[in-house]
């Protein structure tokens, strides 16, 4: 049975607190070569039967409408198997998809620089917090 993999990442310009926490742990444990970590999601969709155009269209829509929320995330790739990787469709719905013309290096740069604005915020427990 074919397995289709959908990769979803938080938008590059958004703070990724999970990735930031991991990056902090790497820094504390001496892995200074790593300057940024971002955490996304990988979905493995198993289908019964051939992956024809109809199935592809359905899965592209599922990826854009359900597996990701275009306000906060991007579908960065759909892997159809056999190294057949396609970008998500530039569909006409209101869902936003990443500009896949970005190279990995550009994405990495965006990921590494975007959270900078939030650095130094830290966790400042507000008064009255009970947990």
């Amino acid at each position: 049975m074919p397995t289709i993999v959908v990769d979803v990442m938080p938008k590059a310009e958004l703070l990724d607190p999970q990735g930031k926490a991991v990056a902090g742990a790497l820094s504390r444990t001496g892995h200074e070569a790593v300057t940024g970590v971002r955490i996304g999601k990988r979905f493995e969709l198993t289908v019964d039967g051939p992956v024809d155009d109809a199935v592809r269209a359905d899965i592209e829509q599922i990826a854009a409408d359900i597996l990701s929320n275009g306000v906060i995330e991007d579908v960065v790739a759909i892997h159809w198997g056999d190294d057949d990787v396609t970008a998500p469709p530039a569909d006409d719905t209101d869902s936003e998809t990443v500009d896949v013309s970005l190279t990995d290096a550009e994405l990495a740069e965006a990921a590494a620089t975007a959270p900078e604005a939030h650095d130094g915020v830290g966790y400042d427990a507000p008064a009255g917090e009970t947990h």
């Binding site: 703070l15 607190p17 930031k20 597996l67 929320n69 306000v71 906060i72 995330e73 507000p126 917090e129």
Partner: protein
Amino acid sequence: MRVGVITFPGSLDDRDAQRAVRLAGAEPVALWHGSHDLEGVDALVLPGGFSYGDYLRCGSIASLSPIMAEVIDAARHGMPVLGICNGFQMLTEARLLEGGLIRNDHGNFICRDQVLSVETTATDWTGDFELGQQITIPLKNGEGGFIADDDTLDRLEDEGRVVFRYIGVNPNGSLRDIAGITNARGNVVGLMPHPEHAVEPGFGPDTVEAMRSGVDGLDFFTSVISRALARI
């Protein structure tokens, strides 16, 4: 006045919301996510909690529940809908409200009594407040950071659709200190803090008068009753 409170798998605050409705003077109606029947209610509350374990994204699977088809249709026809915390997340996932909620910028779950300013009284859920009034109600979330792109934020501000802002401290990294927003019509309101936990003396936030005497959340529920009476 009958106000429906929808229970989803993983809802936590549905009973508190029902109680708040009752204390405000309306009849609470327990609704089930798996039904397609709104049972003729006049308004709806989507309560807080962790529907479906917050799997996929907070509120996302709940927004695909059977009853949400009726909720979306009713909201678009003007029925008052209040989404609290997880309910707010559902409303954004259902695209009834703009923006999204992401993990708190500091990475921690937070639980505190939170001061808010009332930024508009022109909604079905805030008519009994004074403009600019500061209220204190509990806030408890792990993923309450409100985000949207700049154009959306500007539009929300220009159209007077920011309903509440955090005062004193921004507890979760929400952009422009936004705690709650409404739709263009003013019938759908979503916010992260919990008005239903501040409706009865003895069980609310502390005030200068007495411990746990804060009942600032009650006006959300009296507002929707007032609005309904005004339409009769």
